[in-house]
């Protein structure tokens, strides 16, 4: 009778877990940064305050203050909305343990009218077209996170 011996070396599991965690965070941050960049490029521009007001908050860092400052610099009349933080968001996993998340927010109050339009003004969406292509990219990135 043949005997097969299987040996599992667990020495690197801790390292792998740490790496997964760091890579996941990196994927979230990169996706958020790409969405922010695309949305800023696609945002309709008059004074550019809308494009300037698109910020990212990943719970540890936020460029909200810098971005809204720039938005106010180019348009002193722009109405700035309060910052949305990741912990304000509700996910399928509940609000206590969300893992890594980031918010891409639009601080300029008129952003919603550009994104969705009104009955007498056509939409010029900038955020949705930036998010949509990133869904598959993000899922694909996370699928290979342990590679």
């Amino acid at each position: 009778m043949n005997i097969i011996t299987v040996r599992v070396d667990t020495a690197n599991i801790g390292k792998l877990i740490a790496q997964l965690s760091a890579k996941s965070q990196e994927a979230v941050n990169e996706t958020a940064a790409t969405i922010q960049s695309r949305a800023s490029q696609m945002a309709p521009k008059d004074t550019t305050s809308l494009a300037e007001s698109i910020y990212v908050n990943n719970g540890e860092q936020s460029d909200y203050a810098a971005r809204t400052g720039r938005a106010r610099n180019v348009n002193r009349d722009v109405i700035i909305l309060e910052e949305i933080r990741p912990e304000f968001s509700i996910t399928l996993f509940g609000s206590s343990d969300q893992g890594y998340s980031a918010v891409v927010g639009v601080a300029a109050a008129h952003g919603v009218y550009q994104e969705y339009g009104t009955r007498f003004m056509g939409p010029q969406p900038f955020l949705t077209p930036s998010v949509e292509p990133m869904r598959d990219v993000f899922v694909n990135t996370m699928s290979h996170i342990a590679d």
Partner: protein, 142 residues
């Protein structure tokens, strides 16, 4: 084929304008993107917001398109447009084998998120009711 969204727009318009109950209720006022200034309410407006292609080859792709589809009316009560939003949702069902619109086949239309908004235009209240709908389609010859 790169003007496929115009086929989707056509399908939506045909569904809404061609439905006697809805069309009569809004007086035929069904618009893509926006209504001409001064159009009386209620009305139906739908807009493409964004999307993406899967299986990116020239002849084979499945497109995901996100539309905001809603009824709008003057006033601050949703009561008047509630039956309109309900009807919109009924009309957006797609049979299992899809719907052929010229050279595309619409495979599904699913509401992803409800939409309700109260706004003001020159100090007068306006209400919107409807949803964000994900429409999936592909070239008809696939």
């Amino acid at each position: 084929m790169s003007a496929d969204l115009s086929r989707v727009n056509q399908w939506l318009y045909t569904r809404f304008f061609g439905d006697a109950a809805l069309s009569n209720a809004v007086g035929g006022r069904v618009f893509v993107d926006f209504a001409p200034q001064g159009t009386i309410s209620p009305m139906v407006i739908y807009s493409y917001l964004g999307g993406s292609d899967r299986v990116r080859t020239r002849t084979s792709r499945l497109t995901n398109a996100l539309y905001l589809i809603r009824a709008a009316a003057d006033g601050s009560s949703y009561d008047a447009i509630e039956p309109l939003a309900d009807r919109l949702d009924d009309l957006l069902s797609v049979p299992d084998n899809g719907v052929l619109v010229r050279d595309i086949r619409i495979a599904s239309c699913i509401r992803e998120q409800p939409h309700q908004r109260k706004d003001e235009e020159f100090g007068k209240p306006v209400v919107y009711l409807g949803g964000f709908y994900r429409i999936q389609y592909q070239p008809a010859d696939l």
